[in-house]
Symmetry: C2
DNA sequence: CTCGAAGTGCCACCGAGTGACATTTCCTGT
DNA sequence: ACAGGAAATGTCACTCGGTGGCACTTCGAG
């Protein structure tokens, strides 16, 4: 018996460029989406810690054992597209011209991601409120920041080389960038996402590049 | 029966300015110290996750329930003096003259903490290796960084005011500072702690203040 | 239509962490 | 010195996230 409304299965072996989605794959995606949807609702209603995996699994209609074949941990429910977002960021970095300085590259990233965030501001603000009040989610977010910092440092080194001085400089720049970006986003979130995130991001990068010393 | 070699109890009501340590307090401190010592040894021998709280408690001679009256979590065993270190940092911040700029304040902090770190370099490098390979410890470390960033932002705001622009700037500067400090320390750790940490810290702060743009 | 594999459920288990309550241990006031 | 009481500890039972093993169902390919 189907646990959820089964969606139409794309006719198999029909279109040449069709996705060739069978029942199995469709069911998996439906389960994945249901997990994310149900979890987000209950997290926001009852809180992250107060919501049990058994609760979520019962509502979705799967066993807890099966849940862990979709997500490696409870926290991962809150950051579903983590890998994709990182991948897009890496793309921005690798697509950058070889002579572009790191701050300009990040400005381009800001102009790409900023508007997207502002478009989903309500959802993101709520999401961030949940993260901010849940220690284990803050920890997960920090881990994500570390990933971004690492790929950024690697990207800089790809241009400046990996000798001692250059490596230190690359890591320090990456740390500073992630630091100001995270601080900017936290401020944007806590003020309800009403300000211009793109502008704030570019301002922060300006400060980094030109120094905070200007009077 | 004593669980561990009981140390000499300071004669009660002896010296006027004696610490007035009774058996109870002495025993508590001995237990606390034993927990830290035993835990660190086993963490480094067997790894953090492979070491069970039951293992540690058995060796120290207490129940697991009692352990949680000394530490709020297993991770806290690795950061025993977290509160004290933060407190000292706050002191550096609050002791700063009202007209000192944030970077000079941090330079003073660097000159205070840097040499201490270099004095214990072997221990700290081993410690950091453990943290680096243990996700839950990395998470805890990130949380500590957040604390430092928060007190720094607050300290800056105490001087610049809390109006929108000043608040953003304070948070961004704090984020950048923690970012470069963390990056610097990670580099110092991964290179075995042989370089001059104080110098590297001051260099990083110079970059922040004057900007990374200099050719 | 059949065979194999992917997906799932069930069960037992582990380890971290908590609440309740009894028991021991030490400090303090007389 | 001794009694009363508070602090510290132990015991037990429990919750919840997470994992390993194995049987079973379901789907897809030939």
């Amino acid at each position: 018996m189907p646990r959820l409304s089964e969606e139409e299965v794309v006719e198999r072996s029909s279109g040449d460029e069709g996705k060739r989605i069978g029942r199995r794959e469709a069911r998996k995606r439906a389960t994945y989406a249901a997990l994310v949807t149900v979890a987000h609702r209950r997290f926001h209603e009852d809180g992250f810690d107060a919501t049990t995996l058994d609760d979520i699994c019962a509502e979705v209609g799967i066993s807890r054992r099966t849940f862990f074949r979709y997500f490696k941990s409870k926290e991962d429910l809150v950051f579903p597209n983590r890998a994709e977002r990182l991948e897009r960021f890496v793309q921005v970095l690798t697509d950058a011209p070889a002579d572009e300085n790191p701050f300009d590259t990040l400005r381009r990233a800001t102009r790409q991601f900023g508007p997207e965030y502002m478009a989903h501001r309500a959802q993101l603000v709520a999401q961030q409120a949940l993260i901010a009040r849940t220690p284990s989610l803050r920890a997960r977010e920090a881990e994500i920041d570390r990933d971004w910092e690492a790929v950024m440092a690697r990207a800089i080194m790809a241009r400046t080389g990996t000798e001692r001085a250059a490596a230190v400089r690359a890591r320090v720049i990456a740390g500073a960038c992630i630091g100001v970006i995270r601080a900017t986003m936290r401020h944007w979130f806590t003020t309800g996402g009403v300000e211009d995130l793109t502008q704030m991001g570019e301002d922060a990068l300006d400060c980094l590049e030109r120094g905070f010393a200007l009077e």
